[in-house]
Amino acid sequence: MTTGQTSVFLRLLDVQRIAAAFCALFGLVGIGLSIHLTRLKFQMLYTPCKSAYGGCRVGGLTCDDALGSSWSMVLGMPISVWGAGFYLTITVAAAMVLRRDSFGGTAANLLIALTMFAVLVSAALAGYTAVALPSPCPFCMALYAVAVLALVSAWLAWRPPGGTWLTFRQMAQERLADALDGVFALSLVMVASTGIQALGYHGFRNLVDAQDGCPELAEDLPEATIHAGAGSPRAILALFVDMTCSKCLSEFKRLGSALRDEQFPVPVQLWIYHMPRQACDTSAFPDTWDRKDNDAANNNACLAALAAECMEKLEGRGFLLMDGMFALHGERQASAALFTPERIANRAVELGMNIDPDDPHNPLFRCIDGDKEVLERITAHQKYSDRPGFMPPTVLVYRAEAGALDLRRKPLVANANTSLNTILDYVRTQAEAELQP
């Protein structure tokens, strides 16, 4: 095919309109992905028990880090709300290119400008993800790809091979009024779509309860010995943790800091419950136990729970040892267990426990190896968390009466997705609750 034939063929093919149609299609895909991300963010914030950990999971990738980052909200709205508005604007601009001579023939220029902006923002977000986030979010990455594809199709719609195009200089000199017309119309689309989404987003907040989807608790809590916080609490937070889980580390730090900085609206106590995802007493669980997690077992989750309880029993410093053991997450080695008797004993010595870490019969190891009471207590914690299917970490916020749990009022359930503000609200609600006589 000669050059002349090619150009005739391309003209007949009408590359500009096909490219604009593809661009509109990519815009629609972008809208779908953005709405999905908004839904995930909404669930994380307002119905945390319904939200899967990780926000979403595609292969080894999760949305958790991206949706939980400070960049996920812009002006009080999830960034995906702005994204959906922007992709709708791109779709409308692409549709305008399909209609010939829209905005005096400047629609293609506006479309390429919009898609370039989308790619620039995507590049900035991708850079932030690569540098600052442990795991990229699969749907966000799909959005970045959509932005690039939209740019390519917008480019073809602006400068179709074999066709003519309007440069930006020409646009500014000859058709500025038309272009401003287009900018105004597209801005209206952006403002209206974002506004409608904002109304819907905040409106739905009032229609849901943060307790939706939270596990139903059937029976009374078992005994817990590790307590921290105020002497006369008005609320008690029962924190269920597996010390090998990194979210449990974050939750422990978050609640510990809130306690230390007196962020709670009333005096509270933190009670520690253990839910290692490993059968500490193998005779108490079936071999096929579904909650078992090999990663937790490989990192000796039970050993950590036993050590914390034993330290509490022997020295009254279980909470401090937990703090020290959680710090070992920062020294994690991929090919070695997170918790070993040696590492834990060294932490105990650092806290002033008078033991020889190299002595296999030191008091701490004797307790870990042979104290049935401690083992039974941990097993009771595990079984309590097993039936409703708690995910580590889970927090139950109870009303407190005379320093003990007030079981007349149902606890409020929170997890790693629940924001600290929501937990503070739960504490206030429970503390101020009027009980029916």
Partner: protein, 365 residues
């Protein structure tokens, strides 16, 4: 004079002074360490070309024709980084730390002697290394998560062949639909004991392993989600049984001080293993002969074991891929959990050869 001009001149003056100071420091002796006064020490001459002439006073050595002092070598104590210094006498540099030899995880002899195994470990370490984010870690097959291994196994069509190099591998078979998804009624105590007894035959290999792959497969027929759940439940069961065997008689602290990492992952049912490949890879030696040691075919009772053994020994059946019997065998072969004890990770240092032992090998008699 204009105020702005004055300010500019002042800036230029400060700049010139700064440049002059930098130049002065660069060319002068300021900041250089003073050379120690050695003029009081007489220069001791020597002759490095002969044994007698090369003798120097204590703490000196002969350099060409002059005795020069031996510079003290910076050494590092146990636990300190040995990236930029030598370890104290008696310590070895292990994973970038000075470590007592007794605490070093030396490469097991089997990984040195078995070339095929050594290559397989190096390949695993290399594959794992490509998925790692932390460049400071040594190339090791121990730093990948089960999710990494699952991806690697799915990407590599030859993964089964790679695993065939590991001695002590065995395969545990399950009846259809067992263990139940919603009940713990299977295995019964009798079946559990039967499984445990067979796994006990591999206790030595399992205990010597650095990590153990527990790879679940499921029969290719049926819903894939159900098959996946079954595979997970089978892996859970088997890792519990393996732990029961490995840590039998140990206290929790003894167990957790030497815990062997179990990496369990499942393979998709749309890539079933063919009975013929299964037999060659997991039941026979790489050379094609029968394996030495305990029988790698583990089943829930004697009758099923006999059926498997007979079917897998039947060459005609293994080739008759369009028959009902073959289909039945194919389903049974894929209701399996493969257990691969990995004796080394690829980052262990080789134990220094005992020179005398080596020499002794050469002495006749």
């Amino acid at each position: 004079m204009d105020t702005m001009l004055k300010i500019l001149l002042a800036f230029a003056g400060v700049l010139a002074l700064t440049i002059a100071a930098v130049v002065y420091m660069a060319v002068s002796d300021v900041g250089r360490r003073p050379i120690p006064e050695t003029s009081s020490d007489p220069v001791v001459r020597c002759d490095a070309s002969s044994f007698e002439g090369a003798i120097c006073p204590d703490n000196f050595y002969c350099q060409y024709d002059t005795c020069v002092p031996v510079e003290p070598v910076t050494t590092c104590a146990e636990g300190e980084s040995c990236r930029e210094c030598e370890c104290d006498t008696g310590l070895v540099c292990y994973q970038f730390r000075c470590t007592a030899p007794s605490r070093v995880d030396w490469k097991p002899l089997v990984c040195e002697e078995d070339e095929r195994l050594s290559k397989a470990v190096a390949t695993l370490a290399d594959k794992c290394n490509k998925r790692k984010k932390n460049i400071d870690e040594l190339a090791s097959a121990g730093s990948c998560t089960p999710a990494d291994w699952e991806m690697l196994a799915m990407e590599d069509a030859e993964f089964d062949l790679l695993l065939a190099a590991f001695p002590g591998r065995f395969a545990v078979h399950f009846p259809p639909g067992r263990p139940f998804l919603k009940s713990d009624a299977w295995p019964s105590p009798v079946e559990r004991d039967h499984l445990i007894r067979q796994i006990q035959g591999f206790r030595g290999t399992l205990r010597a392993a650095k990590q153990i792959f527990v790879i679940g497969r499921a029969s290719p027929d049926g819903a894939s989600s159900t098959n996946h759940s079954l595979a997970v439940r089978r892996m859970n069961l088997l890792s519990s049984l393996i732990e029961a065997v490995i840590y039998e008689g140990m206290t929790p602290t003894q167990r957790d001080q030497q815990r062997i990492r179990i990496r369990s992952f499942s393979l998709p049912t749309d890539r079933p293993i063919q009975p013929k490949t299964y037999r060659a890879t997991y039941l026979l030696d790489p050379g094609g002969g029968a394996r030495v040691g305990p029988d790698p075919l583990v089943t829930w009772d004697d009758a099923s074991r006999e059926w498997f053994a007979a079917s897998l020994a039947n060459e005609a059946l293994l080739s008759a891929t369009n028959t009902g019997d073959w289909q039945r065998l194919n389903g049974a072969v894929n209701r399996v959990v493969l257990v691969i004890p990995i004796p080394c990770l690829g980052d262990e240092p080789t134990r220094p050869r005992q020179v005398l032992q080596e020499a002794a090998k050469g002495v006749p008699g």
